[in-house]
Symmetry: C2
Subunit: 493 residues, 2 copies
């Protein structure tokens, strides 16, 4: 339970493999001081520390194998090398899983300044409950929300579903305390300042390689009075994407903004067969009767959720719909969003069930500048078409745009195809390699919000420039000179 | 001209001192490659490099003297030590002012993705002109706008007058190229990503100590259709501050939001004697006749400017006024902002004229969390009252809140008093020490947006935690192992 994350590869291995890799022991620290002591002992005894938040990562973040020698040439070799685990362990020392779940206290809530300080082992629901009792929200709702922690969000550069309004984790954090083998690091604690360089950003996205983040002060917000949905259908993904871009570039920030491609829009009507009030009803009706005649043969659905905090927010929502109409957006009643909203944290459960029922299902995501958005989307699709038998075997590629910025938006893909019996891992490795190569070659980030872990390290090392990786390693060497913290992750020497 | 910035101390010295410190020579590079060569030669010949943007800094950023040995005990000693310049120079090598003004090209403007890439020696007006021709703006307007550069903004953690809408320089920058003695550093270039740590933030606010930023890609925005002003008077600074906080915490972001204290509000009617249509007319009328009867004896003026980009922005401006009315905000016609708007970049000229006419005038600024805002404001005022003869000698302390965030707002002070003939520098050193001590002791940042330089280094070194300063020095040692880049600035060993 404590050894694996939730990547497709993790799940497949936990089902099919007999000799599971597990850490040698698990520690459950309760205080920052205990972590300082643990790191001191670890340095003295060559014990490797894999810090664990909620364990919901989908990128092989816990994988303990050192990278294969041919990591630069072959992704499969880098994640799946077959050398003896026992010998490696002998060389690399014992492995300790540092489980943060007992460090889950609320330290301070400042209702005037809208800040809250927590220990970082706190899970999403507990954090939101504590804030909610005082009428506040952090506004960070990744799909892993129920099973992820504040520390995990920080270490993995997390983005939540409501990032459009509340920003990503790096926008929310004001102050952190980090325990490293070289001592405790804290940044200067002000709402904003011009007092030297932004050192705290070194730890956002550091994936456990530089230190253990034990406390964080975050920006919080009054809970909105209510939320309203605005929904529109577009004739294709490209015009929908244009509408999304123009809305955000007009200075409008829905808390959620999600444009589904044709296939994902269709899937909404399949997912909830038993429910007749949701997206299904409307789409079935529109598809069969009205929309096709108007040119919406395979429409793309845009769902926007607006936080209503004051009397101008309703007007903002209307303005967004005005802009979408200029791109032939066909307005739908808000009720169609209800079924998505109630199930928005349950898709990971569905995924696990599908995997056990012989479906390969995996998600991957990227981001690029708007100018390259549709090109990247098409290239990823084409790569599966020309380099694999994914589509000929009935595979389905869903995609949506979410997490949008003035300068670009993330593309979130879901691929589903029948599992190849006895070849489950290699089948996935091949598909993952093809789509990741395509993202890398066509100007996409290898991850917008899932992080690097083991599954993306192969491309991350191609994407990061040499000067930047040397700088990272210099920082790593200063903070963790014995390389006990999640060794072998992020930049390889 | 190229040796000094624009701090009060710089100006006093340029007027009164005979032996001006000047760099040994000035270089005007035109390409990134030339800077690489310059740094290589500098390392080989122990030449110190002071990178210069527009030269508008007000914190002694160009000061070349090494810190005095008793820097931890006495601010005056740290900025004003009297040891022989010539001997020091012999020890520390030649000093080169690296003037970036010829690296002012526009590299790329992407009108779809709203990004623009420039060389960093470009001045504010030229940058805005290039963007303006295509209908765009960066939205970064520090008071130094006319005489400061993109590179200076990045290196000094700049904040502009319209930060409420467009953010600060760290929010605007997507990608940078930095030349360091250890090579060129570039960060991964996407609108946002989860691919490792935020290395680029190391260079924001690095004040020339880590490298020379030669190119930057920034986020740009369509120019608003127009701007509108909303103005209100409050009975005192505290209720005005509450209104500002509640407006921003309701999710409303005026591009400019500026609340003046009682003295600064009064000053508006003195500054423009000849003009009868601006703030003066209204305030004179209101003060004498109507407002005093209603309890606005010494009112505080709040000026808010809203960018009108779409049909909902007018409604947002009205909502802000609704909130201010709940704090007894008395609405004034928008026209009163006109005189401030036309003179908003001219105050530095007025300052220079006043200094030459025997007035000590200096500005200093800080930020704290909202909960501590009025306390900090009062403590700074009290420190001048109890520890100096500032007020008994007729000194005036102006202050405004600007650059507001959900969690806090900056306090921008202006102090004015008659110069002490023959004692100009010590008079300033004493006042600067008293107000800076007060800021430091009462929970304020030693700078919100002016930077550290020499004038704030004494307190910066108290404010930064030891682990963070060691980390900074490790980064410095990796990038600039021979310590040729602006030596002695930021963290001292």
């Amino acid at each position: 339970k404590f050894a694996y994350g939730k990547s497709y590869r993790d799940i497949i291995r936990s089902i099919f493999e007999k000799n599971l890799e597990v850490p040698d022991f698990i520690l459950f620290p309760e205080k920052t001081e205990e972590i300082s002591s643990i790191l001191k002992i670890a340095v003295e005894n060559n014990i490797k520390i894999i810090t664990r938040g909620g364990g919901s990562n989908v990128v092989g973040a816990f994988d303990q194998k050192p990278p294969a020698e041919n990591v630069q040439e072959n992704f499969a070799a880098s994640v799946n090398n077959s050398s003896e685990i026992s010998n490696e362990k002998k060389n690399q020392g014992l492995i300790c899983s540092l489980n943060m779940e007992r460090m889950n206290r609320s330290v301070e809530i400042d209702e005037v300044s809208h800040t809250a300080t927590f220990e970082t082992g706190i899970y999403g629901p507990q954090l939101e409950n504590i804030l909610g009792e005082k009428g506040f929200t952090l506004g960070h709702f990744p799909q892993s929300f129920e099973y992820s922690t504040l520390g995990g969000w920080l270490a993995m550069s997390s983005a939540g579903q409501e990032s459009g309004l509340y920003g990503n984790i790096e926008d929310m954090v004001l102050w952190i305390k980090v325990v490293t083998p070289s001592g405790i690091i804290e940044n200067i604690d002000f709402p904003r300042h011009a007092c030297g360089t932004g050192l705290q950003n070194l730890f956002i996205g550091s994936e456990g390689t530089l230190g253990v983040i034990t406390e964080a002060k975050v920006r919080i917000h009054k809970k909105p009075l209510k939320y309203i949905w605005k929904i529109a259908l577009f004739k294709n993904f490209e015009t929908g994407s244009d509408a999304v871009r123009e809305i955000i570039q007009s200075g409008i920030h829905p808390s959620i903004m999600r444009l589904s491609n044709e296939k994902e829009t269709m899937m909404f009507s399949l997912l909830k067969k038993s429910e007749k009030k949701g997206i299904q009803t409307f789409l079935e009706d529109f598809f069969k009767n009205r929309l096709k005649a108007k040119g919406y043969k395979e429409p793309c659905i845009l769902m926007m959720r607006f936080a209503i905090r004051n009397s101008s927010d309703n007007k903002i929502a209307e303005t967004a719909m005005d802009i979408s109409k200029l791109k032939n957006g066909f307005p739908l009643p808000s009720a169609v969003a209800a079924s998505w909203e109630t199930s928005r944290f349950s898709l990971p459960y569905l995924r696990d069930a599908l995997i056990k029922n012989n479906v390969l299902i995996d998600t991957f995501e990227t981001i690029t500048y708007w100018k390259n958005q549709i090109n990247l989307y098409n290239k990823v699709h084409n790569s599966l078409n020309t380099k694999t038998d994914f589509f000929t075997k009935g595979g389905i590629l869903l995609c949506h745009i979410s997490h949008v910025y003035e300068t670009g938006g993330s593309l979130y893909f879901t691929m589903m195809v029948k599992q190849e019996k006895g070849n489950e891992l290699n089948q996935w490795l091949n598909l993952k390699q093809v789509v990741s190569d395509s993202i890398f070659e066509n100007g996409g980030a290898i991850s917008h919000h899932h992080g690097v872990g083991k599954d993306h390290q192969f491309w991350f090392n191609k994407q990061i420039k040499s000067g930047a990786s040397k700088l990272f390693l210099a920082v790593k060497n200063h903070l963790d000179s014995e390389n006990i913290l999640n060794p072998g992750k992020l930049c390889n020497e």
